[in-house]
Amino acid sequence: MIEEVEDYAIILLDRDGIIRNWNKGAEKIKQYSEREIIGKNFSIFYTEGDRQAGLPEKLIQDAIKNGKALHEGWRLRKDGSLFWGSIVITALHDEGGQVIGFTKVTRDLSDRKKSEELIRWQKQEIQDFMDSLSTFCAKMDREGKFLLVNKAAIKTSGLTREQLMATHFVRGPWWANHESSYQMARNALQQACLGFATNYETRALFSGRPVTANISLIPIKNSKDLVEYIIVEGRDITTQKKAMEQIAYMARMMEDTCEAIFSCDTTLRIRSWNKASENLYGIPYSEAIGQPISETVGSQLDNDSRQEILNQLYEFGHWKGETKHIKKDGTAIHLLISNTVTRDDQGKIDGFVSVVRDISIRKSLELQLKKANEDLEAFTYSVSHDLRAPLRGIIGFTSVLEEDYASKLDDEAKRIAGIIRKNTLHMGRLIDDLLSFSRMGQKEIQKTIVDNNTMVREIIASFTPRGKEQGKINWEIESLVNIKADDHLIRQVWINLISNAIKYTSKNERPLIKIGSYPTKDQQVFFVKDNGVGFDDRYKQKLFKVFQRLHAADEFEGTGVGLAIVERIIGKHGGKVWAEGKEQEGACFYFSLPF
């Protein structure tokens, strides 16, 4: 009967492992016929490796010792192919208990082995796949106990695989003792058990580092729609989070700034429109976005000018200028606008961004100022004409009196007539000086290279006619550098300073006037120094104020406007004026001009 069994190879071995009996099953599994195999050692079925390792002998010994030996392993067929065999070797004893031989039952488990291998391989594939992920990835049961973890999870947790496998998801060290993080983990697990996938952000500790983590729990259901297990994924999103925060911050900045900022694509349709733009134009975001920019902002440019700006943008990348737009309510606004191109990842121009500032108030102030200046001009014009005419009358008729009635006027009357004329003339000079001071404020400076050496010599020559006082004043004139300034106005400065020096040294026996210049860090300083009557240093602030005089009119003539004009001219050039002096010891007047 045994001979007929086909599913099992049943072999009888003697004490030495020599095959003594062979059944049909053995022939089917191992391919040897009974005639071929009887008398051979059973080690013939074992692989070369197993034979060298002494496996057949060991199995025999085990069977002798324990009565039985079990083993599974690869075995050889006659044709050299392998099969997975499961064997049981059982010792046979005689009545005296002596081993007389063995039965060996072999079963071909190749098919079973194959499916086991497949499962094992699939399991390994899942593990490999999970390990290939750089994020914390694990499979856990409904209680939150890990069933499978990946390498990143081990690394992230800072535990060994065994420690991690023994850790509960909700109580893991990665929550860094944050109560809120525990709570969120608990909730997420509850939700997952109810069949809901969750995804949330939380504070966590990954590889010992505090991070912002994104945690996903995905419940996996079985065929009965019950949650069988849960996949958890934890991702460090600190960098992304910071980048997102930075982007959000920049967006907020754009929104919160009081400068209107908007942009358009290359077809000139609006792509962004911040809050300040909404306020400035009175147009909400929803109405602006996607609309043609020129119409939306009420541009007043014609096509040619618009094309010109676009050309500039494509060529230079930016355009700045003043422009006029019309708000939604129809009011015009003056704007300072700065346009810049925007570029895509490839560096290709994909639109334009505009920053505009409402300068309507400044514009209106400028207009007011212009109007005020015009008024002032009209006023000074009227002053120059209307105030001078009566003076001419006073002097004229006083002179007529002196001429036509000379015989009837005594000396006192003539002296008084002289006083009238003198005062009226002085008033005329005051008016003239005041006018020139006022006009100075309106004059625009036109800079050229000023030849100071020539200019100063010309002025000195004009003040000292040949032969007369030329010998009296001792001039010390250094070489003066040329500067970029308004020729006409700088001449006025030299005239005023040099004439002052001449005037205030006129009572000196040996007048000395020194003119020179020296550079400082960013300015060139010029000075006119004299040894005249000087001034009280305490009052030097008053020197440059209009109509302020530090000397009595009968001592030195003057209107008190000359230095005020000097200050105004130098101020207009961006320079400074100052003076040093001591009573009866002379004065030095300085002015500086930027290079």
Binding site: S384, H385, D386, A389, L391, R392, I395, S399, L425, G428
Partner: protein, 149 residues
């Protein structure tokens, strides 16, 4: 004052009576005011020159003055408008016009010359200078200069 408005040599256009008196006195002193006619504003000046309104019938435009002394700041029609009217009308464009004014505004000076003024004189406040200015311009324009008429 000449009896015949067609015989006028000098037309003085001046709204300030004191200035006018001093000017006339100076010209008289040098015997140059015999045929001088004084009008007190720009409107009357235009009427006189173009023989309109009150001068209609008594004056003929064909007999222009040899010289016009013209102030700028005047009520109603100012000197610049008068100048423009004279110089843009071919019948009067050749009359020498001397601007005699208090204004030393550069814009006024430029404008007057552009419109064809023959001289521009700023009236000095000081009488000595004023007197000599009037005397010199009288000599030059009435005696030295050759009139187109």
């Amino acid at each position: 004052m000449p009896n015949d408005p067609n015989m006028v040599e000098v037309l003085l256009v001046e709204d300030n009576m004191d200035d006018a008196e001093l000017t006339i006195r100076e010209l008289k002193k040098h015997n140059m005011a015999n045929q001088l006619y004084h009008v007190k504003d720009g409107e009357e000046a235009l009427d006189f020159i173009f023989a309109n309104r009150s001068y209609l019938g008594t004056r003929k435009i064909q007999f222009p003055p040899k010289l016009i002394l013209l102030d700028i700041q005047m009520p109603k029609v100012n000197g610049i408008e008068v100048l423009e009217a004279i110089k843009t009308d071919p019948r009067t464009a050749k009359i020498p016009v001397i601007i005699l004014t208090s204004s030393n505004e550069n814009t006024d000076i430029q404008r007057c010359y552009k419109l064809g003024a023959n001289s521009y004189i700023v009236k000095p406040v000081n009488f000595i200078n004023f007197a000599s200015a009037i005397k010199n311009l009288g000599y030059y324009w009435l005696l030295l200069n050759h009139s187109p008429f």
